[in-house]
Symmetry: D3
Subunit: 231 residues, 6 copies
């Protein structure tokens, strides 16, 4: 059993599939997410003729990816799953923070995060894996001469922390996550600044002390994650 | 012009409309939200026959509520607005944290937050106003003998803080919000614990110092808000 | 209790909200409708390059606006409520009858009628309140020099009449409406001509005599309504 | 060319198709509507266990039924056509007025009105043809011993009248309809009472004199229609 | 009762309705399908500026067209019926095989196949009837000088064959179809080549011998069908 | 380059993911499909209380799975992709042919086929991989004592054949498929009988000789495939 300040094993399979500009299978413990980056020449209407680009993300779980029963596809209910919608907005905001949109130029990169197998922490795996897929796609754009300059300002990654049985704990798997009193997702840059903080204590409100302990664990964890994901 | 540690004027109109079990018009500066609480005897499928209740929220902006042009209704696009979806999940989680579901019993309370006029901070106004609507509805259930015991554990309220021109600032209105480097929504209980933290720095990642300053301002602001909303 | 030839109390709150070009809260007894007018520079496809404008309306009830239980939002079922659809077509046709589309020029005015509280007669309140919101918006366009000439030909207003216990009755509230044998909505111009007549006797077909009595009451009622809504 | 007090030729093909309980092809000039009646044992939720029945209608135009270009199917836009929605509510209300729901018992009859070819007056043809399909279906229920007593109280039929070039005119075809100043649909019982009146003067408000002339023409027209549709 | 190598009676009513460019009612035993061809000047995006045209098909069953209970309209469920979707793709592919798209020029012909009454073999009736509607529409385009040359390469038609009680059988009606071990739809050109083969043996896989017998019957049947549909 | 009677390399990764009852990653050349089998205790309404089970399939392509540009998710358009709908019906019918529904008992097995990477032949890979996932799931049900007897009657598999440059060719990859004159999908049992035949010659109708050559190649190919997929 892993200790409260340990990460699960993280494995990065670059170029997993062949059609997308960037493709990464991230295996984070038993959580597997296929993260791909696709480049399009058109941008959302509010950016047309501004010379600026955009990063957006889509997140989805395969029907068979979860324990506790098959998950219906969104199209069956004709509704985007609300949790997925919340998560993909988070992924999009986090990855946009990594890029200088003026340097990216008037193009859009779509990060698709498809969960093949879920065991807790899928949003953090998606952000972390999506960052790598984004880097691969951007390297190709630079190599092809489409981009003159690297638009990536800093790298971002994410990790979850929580409070389990009163004790701050790093990197919650599904079993921990579902019983944790607090669940805090921390998204940071590789120079140690916060991009997003999303903490939720539906079952038991938390205090400053726990917040500080969790943030400390998250920073240490992210330091290791940036080492793993760097080349 | 208000100072960086000041709140906008907050006005609570209880029993604004007559049909809902609880109805509150909260006027928070120029942000007006109609918050109502409706009680239903049925609960979501996963709670049937558990004896436990549920609180859920719906959030919507009237088409004419925003500056910068009319907002299409969701039904026109057949899609729930993704931002609304994210916000109503936050409202629901925050208010569920206020209630002991076993004491509520097998019934559901739906908090509808309809924004009549928006000027920044609609999600915080919704949580704060929704809490009061919820209290009114629960008082009626107690008075009617439906509930034996008050299921409310503590009250919750929300406020936004941000960093504007490098300075931590309390209670952002639309003009501040759209230019802030960081936007942090803090949801707390009336005994000073955190329920949710949602911080986003899409444009400029932030550092510990700013986080601490923002949290300090939020706590002071929430103290005043709890005084305003209590009777 | 009001007499069969009396109107309920009608109150007009002009400029209720600040973002829309025209905004009116009409309180007609316990029926409250927020009517706003938004101006857009684009027109529906069939009017492009004709130099002619368009008026359209959208009608919706807030979930908590009705007695007898909360009403689900349309987006939940992914279907426009059929009754709302019928009503907003009526509002649109009625208000278009008030305006010279050539003088309006190639722009569209959208009248949003959002029912905050319902107690019968919401469609008549929407038409009557919508007309005032439309006038406010048009005055602004004239003042801003966008329109040279006032495109309003005449003002329109609406009132419901019915037959209750065999007796023609003016201005049905919810209790009357739901028990009336006949329900006739009369929309007229301020010079006494008919714009729309919508009479429905699902439960008891009616005779000429009743039609004539109802029309007489409606005309007298509308005369008073035009006095109330004029400035 | 037909005179202003004449009806177009009306032809009733009973039992046009074989699967529905009642099936009628009504050819009203060049307007052809296939009206069928289907009997179901279940009723809408609000009628369960009341012993009362229900009549409802659905109206749709085939894509190739209209002049002036093919009409997209509703399913392509995922939206019920708003005009169709308004019309089918009118058909349903009109036909419900013909039936004693207690005598019908706890079953529902669905009247499908599918326009094969449109040339004005499709809603009136639908009501008139739908009434006959309903009668055929009910006769079968009586013959089969399902119904003891005939639940039909009176027959209903519909005709349109209008004002064309200042002159009241009976039974508008498409060419007349699209240029008429007023368009009034009159639905009556066979004993001369009104079931619905739907008059619309979007382009030119009308006066009492025209209303009276139109109603007179409609009554005379409906008398002939009841003769044509009776057996 | 018809023999295993006999066709049901097929009747072609050309120019059944008046608005579409081509309109055919095909009565194939008790299966009646209204097939119409509508010409549009726009083509799907992937063909713009290629000078090439397109043929597409839509298939739908009227709610009252089937035995065994009324069929809900697609719009009620907000979902295209999956069987209809599969069938209309087959009709579209089959009819596209009949036409030289370069000669058709940059326009689209939509074939609407609306089943008025179903008794087995609706997809074959749709293809066969749709071909005739297509021919009528194209003749009009040639007559109007829009097309210089006839783009039709060959005519296509369709018939179903199956294995019933171990015996290959031509032209299955509903009763046969629902009990057949195999159901094979054969679409051919009038010079005896295959356009589509769709065989399905969900209940009992079949052998070469049966395939050969079925194909032989289908060829003989299609020869007769081409005689019936030719003028 | 592979010969016209050769198969691409087929690789079967059993138990690829952990939550589904059966999980197979089939790599067929560069076509990769994740096929999973999920068991549910409920059956579709028409099978309730019959003691019989059901097999159904869902097919979807990940947005990044195709060459030639990213594919939008179905939920974005609120419409099931029509090609996917056609394919999943084919997979479902093919796999149902493999199972004795009475022996399966009143439960449903859902086969999810999610294409991770597409290079032609995804429907054949889905049927072939889906069969293996189905077998794994059924073995578990037998092992767990839920099933007394093996409900699998025979195994099924699928392969595509076509005519390329006038020559019958086995196992078309994307490049072949998109230029083939004919595309025939052959689904057979392991004892050499046909389950489905789906041949399409949109661009060039084909003759008996080609049909026979294609069927011969398909049979030989399927023989090898059954060897590869058996254990």
């Amino acid at each position: 059993m892993k200790k409260n300040n340990e990460l699960r094993k993280i494995q990065i399979v670059r170029n997993f599939t062949k059609h997308a500009a960037g493709s990464v299978l991230i295996k984070w413990g038993d959580t597997w997410v296929l993260c791909t980056a696709s480049v399009e020449d058109k941008v959302p209407p509010f950016l047309r003729d501004t010379g600026r680009g955009w990063i957006t993300a889509e997140y989805s779980m395969l029907p068979s990816s979860t324990g506790g029963g098959r998950k219906d596809r969104d199209i069956k209910k004709l509704k985007m799953d609300a949790r997925s919608s919340e998560i993909q907005r988070l992924i999009g905001r986090s990855l946009r923070a990594a890029v200088d949109m003026a340097k990216l130029g008037e193009r859009q990169i779509i990060i698709d995060c498809d969960v093949l197998q879920a065991d807790g922490g899928t949003r953090c795996a998606s952000i972390t894996g999506g960052m790598i897929a984004l880097e691969i796609a951007i390297k190709k754009l630079i190599k092809a001469g489409v981009l003159k300059e690297n638009p990536i300002i800093h790298r971002v990654a994410a990790v979850s922390v929580g409070v389990c049985d009163g004790k701050a704990t790093l990197d919650l798997d599904y079993q921990h996550d579902s019983t944790a009193e607090v669940d805090l997702n921390v998204i940071m840059t590789d120079d140690g600044r916060f991009v997003e903080l999303q903490g939720c204590a539906e079952h038991k409100p938390f205090i400053d002390k726990h917040l500080n302990e969790m943030l400390k664990l998250a920073k240490a964890g992210l330091k290791k994650i940036f080492e793993i994901t760097a080349r």
